[in-house]
């Protein structure tokens, strides 16, 4: 079975010209055979200067291979420098304590591009539970691209975060005005505590006269209590088109009889649901 690291090397070899390919190969061998900290950090720093920052060109079969090598891993919007840095980190980072220590040191002196890269690499690192504290730090970031590196298209948080960390990741996404749909495991990890936090947040926004993201209701539906159903009723009664569609999707995910009754009172939305015309993906794309 091909590993994720081998796939990255294969894709880079295919895309890079000969001098760049040779540089990467040389660094990979040097780092894998053990080198000084200084050489390790410099090699990783040098990557965009040496290899550029083009998009990594991947086909659907490449993405299928990625999924097979590491379920949930989605490198579809990775770039060459990101892929190469992860290759070098995996080649020279060692395992266990040594890897954790090197990763920590890399983060300490990382620029924004590197920080994004190292967070995107989370699903590929040895000993996944070791990196939870670091990943949570990324999920607290106010720098949106850094937050998204942890939260979007990344299976790590859903696999490793406890409920509190998970719930705050979802809330933080709304706070910094990014989308929820690219968060992996969003529906599977919905829970009553998150439902309550989200409804409270919607009330804060309403009180302030600020808009509420329609996506907020996605993690409310499956665990909606009486108060949450009241909130959804309010959205149906007073919301705009996208908000009402979101309320309908949320109600459709709610197992309670009241939810079905509310939907029955909305024949147009029910018809759209039945015809498959509504989806969270479409809503997220606005």
């Amino acid at each position: 079975m091909t590993t994720a690291a081998e796939l990255l090397v294969r894709w880079l070899d295919r895309q890079l010209d000969e001098p760049r390919r040779a540089w990467l190969q040389e660094q990979r061998v040097r780092l894998a055979s053990g080198c000084s900290d200084r050489d390790f950090y410099l090699a990783i720093s040098y990557v965009p200067r040496k290899l550029g920052k083009a998009d990594l060109a991947l086909s659907t079969s490449d993405l299928a291979a990625a999924e097979a090598a590491r379920p949930g891993w989605d490198p579809s919007d990775w770039s060459v420098d990101q892929a190469a840095r992860i290759v070098l980190l995996l080649a020279g980072g060692g395992t266990g304590d040594a890897f954790a220590q090197r990763l920590r040191q890399l983060f300490v002196t990382a620029d924004i591009g590197e920080t994004i890269t190292f967070y995107r690499g989370l699903p590929l690192y040895p000993d996944p539970p070791r990196h939870v504290a670091r990943a949570r730090e990324g999920a607290r970031s106010g720098m949106r691209p850094i937050f998204e590196a942890v939260a979007h298209h990344n299976p790590y948080p859903a696999e490793q975060f406890d409920e509190l960390a998970w719930n705050h990741l979802v809330l933080k996404a709304l706070f910094i005005d990014t989308t929820l749909d690219p968060i992996r495991g969003l529906d599977a990890r919905a829970n009553p505590a998150l439902m309550r936090m989200l409804c409270d947040y919607a009330h804060e926004r309403w009180a302030a006269g600020r808009p509420v993201s329609p996506e907020l209701w996605r993690c409310v539906g499956p665990h909606a209590d009486d108060a949450a159903l009241e909130d959804l009723r309010r959205v149906l009664a007073t919301g705009g088109g996208r908000e009402r569609e979101a309320a309908a999707l949320a109600l459709a995910a709610c197992p309670r009889a009241e939810a079905r009754a509310m939907l029955a009172g909305e024949p147009e939305l029910s018809a759209a649901l039945a015809a498959g015309r509504l989806s969270w993906r479409v809503l997220a794309e606005g």
């Binding site: 200084r38 410099l42 200067r49 002196t109 990382a110 620029d111 924004i112 590197e114 920080t115 949106r144």
Partner: protein
Amino acid sequence: MYIDSHTHMISRTTDDYERMAAAGVVACIEPAFWLGQPRTHVGTYIDYLSMICGFERFRAGQFGLRHYCTVGLNSKEANNEELAEAVMEILPRFALKEGVVAIGEIGYDEQTDLEDKYFRLQIELAKELDLPVMVHTPHRDKKRGTTRSMDVVEEHGLAPSRVVIDHNNEETVREVLDRGFWAAFSIYPFTKMGNERMVEIVRAYGAERIFCDSACDWGISDPLAVPKTAELMRRGGIPETQIRKVTYENPLAAYGQSGQINEADWLDPPPIDQRTLYMGNSILRGGQEPRIADRAPRSDELRIR
């Protein structure tokens, strides 16, 4: 469009970023320096360098400015040998970060032996990593300190064209230009340069290898120094081509030698940056003329003494 090639934005507010962007500043360079008082641990130094390579860069982008930095051990803190040794150890890890356009600001404060030692070590680092150097010339014993800085650069075989000598004045400029270095002037009230004097410098020496910056920091300083000086030059009859060199083209050429600052960064940013790291620039999209104030400023409002 202007470039302010010496700004300590880490101690400035969001108002400053807004005013700079409105006045036409498209990019700024943040040299690593002290913070008004000396650091006592390498850890705070690491976090500082990380901040100017990271969050400050992001913050500037939210206001439509591109942010670059230089990294180095400054002359004041070079006098704490224990700190200096530790900083030299970690410095190479920052030197190749994205947007690092030079090793700097380095040089002399009191011209002590330790300052000399770490100045030289950092010149060697710049040579090894092929980076330009930004030299901070001392406030006290300035003329001799400036000459000595250039002597040391030459002794280490670094090309003058790779080195910016900053904080010049009327007393230092001739030698700096004659020896082939870039001559930067910090328009900083009361201590360094006033901008009426700057106009006369350009009138006397022309615009080759000369540029000005604000050096704005936590002290009484002016983040609009570059646009104000440009306007003062305009009113003083300096040709537009020279103004452009002094406030835009020359710093771009000097620090562009790093490969880390390009016009395309603000004129044609990649879509991913446009979306997340750089909130465009309404001036360049034709939305708004650069302006320093809501009305045409009076000359005394442009003057920085």
